[in-house]
Symmetry: C2
Subunit: 369 residues, 2 copies
């Protein structure tokens, strides 16, 4: 009900509620039931990362009841506007028109898909109509986020990133209505992730905060969140085992606070260039960010050096030569997809960012990836 | 609508929205007007620290309109249950029965008074009926907090501390309904505070976090907030001028995040002993905390040493010998008021805290203050 107060003083919306701790996932069923009772609507929607589809006991453990819709989200590709539209259509065809709650259980792809679907249940049209800033007009369906991997900040951010293959745009529904109503932050859920994926995704939180702190839209509260996240990431990635119980706890906190940091600021150069890789090559966000940071020592020298130390310490590997043999036209396509992202590039380099990021220079950077 | 999930995994409620920045106080009028429009109720209540009562232009600048109630809160004494009840009665007698919003502009006393009054407009009975945990049954009136001094965390905490002279209890309405709906965090507002008061109040944030980190109910997310707050306090209190623009910004962030830390944990020894000083001698919270920490090197040696360095660096002074000449019975009264606080003392020392905090030992500690 409170309007945003203009760009000078954005009225930052927090995730209203969160539960944190090993085992806290068992709170979910009661929360969904409370929403069924409060809304008078019996059916809930559970969108679960397909990684968990083999676990036949999981739906019951999560509180799924007869009449609920359970869909396993294909995470081979990150969210597309087309896939979000198709999922909504599928749910409506199954008779789910006004769910009591939408529950997202998974990584960034699943969490973002749940956010987009929740908005589209209550706003007319297609996903691509809402790619941008503050285009969502009605509150979405009540949604509960349960991350199973840490780093993206999808659990606390006001966006849900989707690739639109028609327009070549990788952009989310940036809206206060996109923010989860409730989070369950249970570090046990990230124990079965592969080491490389865990690292790539965790680095997303680190990179967000490096970009925020190097940007032109800094502010003391965003800086405090970002500094905390970087320290947590250092603790995790310089630790003997980044996936220990303590490592997974700290990375889950870093991911949540990274989303809080982003709410008050913008990303910088890494995310737009990474989006170019994702749009053209279909690379996932976490690994695309790591490939990009790996090629940007000239822009982020300290973060690049620390990132290389993390890699050595944890014995993970970053794909190399992913662009080396691509034809020039593909690299130009990436340049174009990257430079669509004016807000973060302005944050990084100022409004004249195109003077620095010439086509030739960006193509050269991609060539080195 | 979502129930708390039991003490093992408390369902932490965040302040839903905040605006941060120098000049952001000018957002207030539009926010109150939006609440008037949304609620269909024309009148708002502005509770303002009496420190600002000489500024005749302030009410208009804050967005006060004809028909609103403006009350300057006497901060000579910290909130009492009696004063809160009297203020509510006064507002009702002035015809304010269902305000569109309650705005608190001031330090911890004013912010806590606004929280208590907002709850009592919609919950029957007297303030003392709600001293405790989760006793408030109905959502309070929508409330906006505008801190003018930093440290207490009243802006983001779920309590509003009140002294009950009838029972000797200094305890708040600990409730999710006590949390502000909207904050305006404008560091310009703390520029006119006296240096000693600025320090005493700022140390409240530091002490909260020292107590949380030394306690038995630690958790990774509370620890992350607490660590951030301690670093911000070090930046401010080891800085050349703790009241520079940057110092006031950072301390305002520390105060907000200190409240977030407390939401996931408990205070320790300082706050209960400090409450004894406040109940018996009427000392204000910030200075009473500093006097207490000053007498507790045996329990918090590192924090005590750092606190002494802050004092030297900033050239502030802590009252001494406030208890030295008191009769024994007054010190016993303080011991009794302090040891009512079982939750924080259990956090600090475990359920057998009375074995450590014998009457003789506590009286001895008070004697040294």
């Amino acid at each position: 009900m409170i309007p945003a107060t203009g760009s000078q003083f954005p009225n930052i919306k927090n995730v209203p509620r969160y539960v944190f701790g090993s085992g806290s996932r068992h709170s979910l069923g009661a929360m969904v039931d409370a929403r069924r009772a409060a809304s008078g609507k019996p059916a809930a929607v559970f969108l679960i990362d397909e990684f968990f589809s083999a676990d036949g006991d999981l739906p019951k453990a999560l509180g799924v009841k007869d009449g609920d819709a359970v869909r396993y989200v294909d995470v081979a590709e990150e969210p597309t506007t087309e896939a979000v539209d198709a999922l909504l259509e599928d749910l409506r065809a199954a008779g789910i028109t006004e769910p009591a709650a939408i529950v997202g259980v998974g990584g960034g792809t699943t969490l973002d898909t749940a956010k987009a679907v929740a908005n589209l249940f209550t706003n007319p049209g297609r996903a691509e109509n809402y790619q941008g800033w503050d285009l969502v007009k009605n509150p979405g369906v009540y949604k509960i986020g349960v991350p199973t991997i840490s780093g993206t900040g999808a659990e606390s951010s006001r966006t849900c990133v989707m690739t639109n293959h028609r327009t070549g745009l990788k952009l989310g529904m940036n809206s206060d209505y996109t923010i989860y109503d409730q989070l369950i932050l249970d570090p046990d859920l990230s124990s079965t992730v592969s080491r490389n994926q865990y690292f790539y995704t965790g680095m997303d939180a680190y990179i967000h905060c490096v970009e925020s702190l190097a940007g032109r839209y800094r502010n003391p509260i965003g800086d405090a969140f970002s500094g905390t996240v970087l320290n947590l990431c250092r603790e995790v990635f310089f630790g003997d085992d980044m996936m220990s119980q303590s490592g997974r706890e700290h990375l889950m906190v870093a991911s949540y606070l990274g989303g809080c940091a982003l709410a008050t600021s913008f990303v910088g150069l890494v995310h737009p260039l990474s989006a170019g890789l994702s749009v053209v090559l279909g690379l996932h966000h976490g690994v695309a960010n790591c490939i990009t940071l790996n090629a940007l020592p000239e822009f982020y020298p300290e973060a690049h050096a620390e990132f290389r130390k993390f890699i050595d310490k944890q014995g993970v590997s970053i794909p190399e030569r992913v662009c080396a043999d691509l034809p020039e036209e593909k690299l130009v396509e990436m340049f174009e997809a990257a430079t669509l992202h004016e807000k973060p590039l302005t944050n990084a380099l100022g409004p004249e960012f195109r003077q620095t990021l010439t086509r030739e220079r960006v193509v050269g950077i991609y060539r080195r990836m």
